[in-house]
Amino acid sequence: MWLIQLRNELWKLFGKKRTYLGFLMIVLAQNIFILTFRFSHASRNAIQVLEGNGYPAAAFMSGLTIATILIFPMVYLLLPLYTSLVGGDLVAKEAEDGTLRMILCRPISRVQLLVIKWLAGAIFALLLVLFLGVSGFLFASAWFGWGGLFVFVPGEIFSVYDPWSGLRFYVAAHGLMVIKAVTVMGLAFMLSCFNVKPAAATILALSIIFVSFIMMNIPYFKDLQVWFVTYHLNAWQWLFLQPVPYWKIASSMSLLAGFNFTFLLVGVTVFHSRDIKS
């Protein structure tokens, strides 16, 4: 029954037009960025950095490099926005619409219902990241072609890879991004289990993420960065450091797993104690 109920939850999720908003906006944003790079001087800075370090720009200004540059704004802005939008809807929207009351006159436990909803949200997060990676790579490759990967974050990352190694790291980074997307979705999902409007759950989750991100970047809190959830949410980009700090990444991932479990546990506990009324 779990699988059938999960399938039904996905029917509900993907039957709504707003679920596709994230996919649509990602395609739009990606293409605007790619065309800007292609037909303006936006890539000049990257070319100067490459050539200044003795690398031939033509070999590294590839679809893979552009797709990786695209990831940053997407993952910092669009991904939290759309995963929290869906996560915030999962319980609160059903409570608002009255369908939750219809469900809860059925012999299903509240815990099972929430776990199924969380799984549906996690599948959405996975698909969104998968789409982000594949579409970014395909669109960027169509304009910039196949080539090596160059990743540059001033003061943090300077890495160059041959095309196949670059692709491997590109794929692996998306694997870690799934954990980030699921965590943000899980945070919104937890808030959605309280007696709040869906928009409130989404906005609150986004606020937590953005406030955490801003505080983490205030110099005063530099030494305390590890205590901020956003620090660990950005662990995916450490894959582009050379050498790769695998232990640090693993430690952050285990913390995110803990966050996810805690969010779900808090959500279940709150939801279980709630009275569901019309």
């Binding site: 109920q5 509900k12 809860l104 006159c105 012999p107 299903i108 009275d275």
Partner: protein
Amino acid sequence: MIQLRQVSKLFAPQWAVRGLDLEIARGEIFGLLGHNGAGKSTAIGMMLGQVWPTAGDILVGGHDVTLHRRRALEKVGAIFESPAFYDFLSGWRNLEIFSHYSARTTPARMREVIDWVGLAGREHGRVKTYSHGMRARLALAQALLPKPELLILDEPSDGLDPEGIHEMRQTIRRLHRELGLTILLSSHLLSEVEQLCTRIAVMKQGRKVFEGSLAQARLAQDGVRLRTADFAAAADLLTRAGLITGTLDGGVIRPGPGIGTDEIVRRLVAAGMPVFEIAPVEQTLEGFYLALMNGSASGNVNPSP
């Protein structure tokens, strides 16, 4: 089928339900009456495990709803006022989704129920294109899919036009007659309850103020119609004699506790007043209900049948 023992629910700072005892036997159509905010929906919410009771025990089908929700609700269907669906999906898909929360449901069973409620031919249309009546039928279909033995209807006629209300009433009769369901009907429509239910309970401010059969309700006011040559004089005599506690409109007296009509007749005749008619008043459910709400009828609480 349903047993509530001293059930209370506090929505601080107010008690929504207080000390509610209720027993609904298998096979009956039971009406739950009360004003808005009387505690009916909260009581139903507690029966369905949606609202946690502050105190008391709730048994459905012999199982405690709060402890063994799954077993208690296995054979229960419910319809609420303004039933909510996933409007962007088809009626068929909605039925699949809701029924699978109970158990695996075959397409044949779904087809059978769709035919039964009269939704055949429209089941693959999106619910947002359904009329109010069709939504009511869909709600009934989702409630019937798990082959329930108990059907809980919370204001099922709410928002329906007179034709829809009539149709719903006929459907409830059919459900009882053909499927032998036990039905708990919460409604504001007293005429509906009067026509359908065998027993009723009336709630007021979270408390049960009456439970019993409709016949008992009709007699519960303890009013006695008295026709004499001079009603005012007769009433005055009886009041002074301590035989009645008051009078009501339309020549009705309210005998005191333990006072029978024979004693009243004896006293009037002894005083030389002719008695043309004396008989207990059988009033409408509406009259009884209004009297209860205004506090002038006695809440003859009849415990379990």
